[in-house]
Amino acid sequence: MEKILGKKQIDDWIAALSEWEILAPSVEDGIWAYRALSGAVRLDHSNTTQPPKGLSFPQREVFFSFEQIKGEPPRLTQKMPTATRRAVFGVRPCDGAGAVRMDMVFSDHVADPYYQTRRKNLAYVGLACNKPQGSNCFCLSVGGSPVATEGMDVLMTDLGDRYYVSAVTETGKALMAAAAKLFAAPTSVDKKLVERTHADAVAQPQRAVKNVDAVPAKLKASFKSPLWEELARACIGCGVCTFLCPTCHCFDINDESTGASPVKGNRVRTWDNCQFPDFTMHTSGHNPRESLGSRLRQRVSHKFQYFQENFGMPQCTGCGRCISECSVGIDIITTVNKVTEHAG
């Protein structure tokens, strides 16, 4: 389903989605994020600091609470998230692609009920990038596109005074059907314009990971390369690159106590990441990835080799956040390109 929506009508459309909680980009304290919409929607963001990943995979998720009186069996109370339907406006194609990869992880092998409950009630109303949103965009070189519909329920393209709105999924169609009379059928002029806009978007120069298909084999061959330590020399070992990544999914599970007698508390999942030194540390003190270089290698290899081997696509969507937000210039594009060039 392809329609035209006047830019001034977008708020009317949102008003018609009364069964949905609406999230849209907004800026607070200099930080762009998807927040509950208050007032008119604005879609003049470049991209948000964090991807919408946290909406289906929050940084903190309580699995269940427990209470145990000494000598008695514990009582466990499951804390499944409530099934609120949420529509997120303005999601960029790299983050739509990120959601697809997150979906794979949290449904592969066995389904994660917390993730699934949140995700199946989440709709992405994407916004195509008519031009790159930042100097470190590289979606085209990792199998993505600034106009991709991957992971979206709806994709909107900015045509100046109006949006070209395409439904991608049944949910997307339902979202549009909720305000059917606001949408007009596209004219042949609209269709030509959207085609040209998309073609222009894809033709915009971007940075690039070179020959991504050859990367997995080259990374495999470079596992023992001294380049890893050299490239990680300035790394400070923080969690910025992973916590801002649309596809990083690693987590920790801990019991957080709220009382000692009786024992009371919550079993909680929190984000974790492979760049923290203790991530892989065994109880014995042995750490299989002790050095910064081995941890950079893990982040890069997981995205460009291991995930490719397991799911047939790179686990990087080219959003560029890990590059732009790294305080010491660690650059995943340069890293991949240097290591693979070195591998010959």
């Binding site: 600091t49 923080c238 969690g239 910025v240 929190t270 540390m281 937000e325 305080s327 010491v328 650059d331």
Partner: protein, 341 residues
């Protein structure tokens, strides 16, 4: 004005004569306008070095990393390591020496005067609508290379608050120094930003801080980038305490978790306030913690508050002299509190 070539020549000369084993400096990053830290070990690499308004990083962090590495490998390199240091960075190096992290002769300081300016703030630059591929100093201006050609802005318009307020934009502790000493330049009152913040009432300030800390994602970039956060074991993060073959099951089992991993208000506040307390009298206002924060938490307000307390209550200036005792290791004879005597 500093000629970049002088810095490169100094580094090249030190490496050629084998006087140092490496030079920690700045080079152009692969991803845009900014400089990035680099450690060079051969004279040929000296030409990679840059000096411009994006040399934000307090490189003394890498002196700490270097010491940790040497301790780990039980290596005694014999020769010092050289470091490019601004005024603030040199004060950080002095604090580390006050705390006996390394000795003076183990470090060769290539001091860089900030002269009339300091480093820029990317967000201030973006607010001016400038997307640059290169930045350079030119007297009281910064000059940018953009797609639309060269752009020039008065430095003070986009300079970091900490540089505007800097009292000593000159590395007094150095082996060699480049640029003029412009100490005494008055771009802004010291603690001016803090003073502006303190004009709000307490209730308003608390609401402000709640909102700031609620945003924290606990990526620990602020701690990771701080040269003063060198503890092997961090009190705010008992999950990453060091374990080795000698650590007993008892120690591991009885570990207290002072702060939970959940990025929630109570834990975030405890984390940030504990860190601020531990930086009292040590923080030299390089403000790297605030710069690297991906969610814009204004950590400088906290650290500045502690710095001003130390100065006003005890006349203490961190990083002023290697021989001076650390703030928490010193006392005044005329201290108004009785417990000290």
């Amino acid at each position: 004005m500093i000629n970049i070539q002088d810095m490169r020549d100094t580094a090249r000369d030190l490496l050629t004569k084998n006087e140092v084993r490496a030079v920690i400096g700045y080079r152009r990053s692969s991803s845009g306008m900014n400089a990035e830290p680099v450690v060079i070990t051969t004279p040929e690499q000296a030409d990679e070095l840059v000096w411009d308004p994006t040399c934000f990083h307090n490189l003394s962090l890498y002196l700490v990393e270097d010491r940790k590495f040497l301790a780990h490998t039980r290596n005694n390199p014999g020769r010092p390591i050289a470091i490019v240091a601004k005024g603030c960075d040199a004060r950080a190096i002095v604090v580390l020496m006050q705390e006996h992290y390394f000795k003076r002769e183990e470090v060769y300081i290539i001091g860089m005067s900030c002269e009339g300016s300091g480093v820029l703030v990317e967000r201030k630059l973006a607010a001016n609508g400038i997307q640059a591929t290169n930045a350079s100093f030119d007297g009281d201006d910064y000059v940018f290379t953009t797609a639309q050609g060269e752009k020039r802005l008065p430095a003070r318009e986009i300079m970091a608050d900490r540089c505007l307020e800097c009292r000593i934009p000159y590395p007094r502790e150095h082996n060699v120094v480049l640029g003029e000493d412009k100490t005494g330049r008055e771009l802004a009152e010291p603690f001016a930003a803090l003073k502006r913040f303190e004009e709000r009432d307490a209730g308003e300030r608390w609401i402000f801080w709640e909102r700031q800390f609620d945003r924290c994602i606990r990526c620990f970039a602020c701690r990771s980038v701080c040269p003063m956060c060198y503890c092997e074991e961090c009190v705010v993060d008992s999950i990453s305490f060091p374990v080795n073959a000698q650590t007993t099951a008892e120690e591991k089992a009885n570990r207290v978790r002072w702060i939970e991993r959940s990025a929630v208000r109570s834990e975030n506040i405890t984390y940030h306030l504990t860190r601020a307390m531990h930086l009292a009298g040590r923080c030299i206002d390089c403000n790297e913690c605030e710069r690297v924060c991906p969610v814009n938490i204004p950590l400088r307000l906290l650290n500045n508050k502690m710095e001003r307390e130390a100065r006003e209550q005890f006349g203490y200036e961190p990083g002023a002299s290697i021989g001076a005792p650390a703030l928490v290791a010193s006392f005044l004879d005329n201290d108004p509190e009785k417990f000290i005597r």
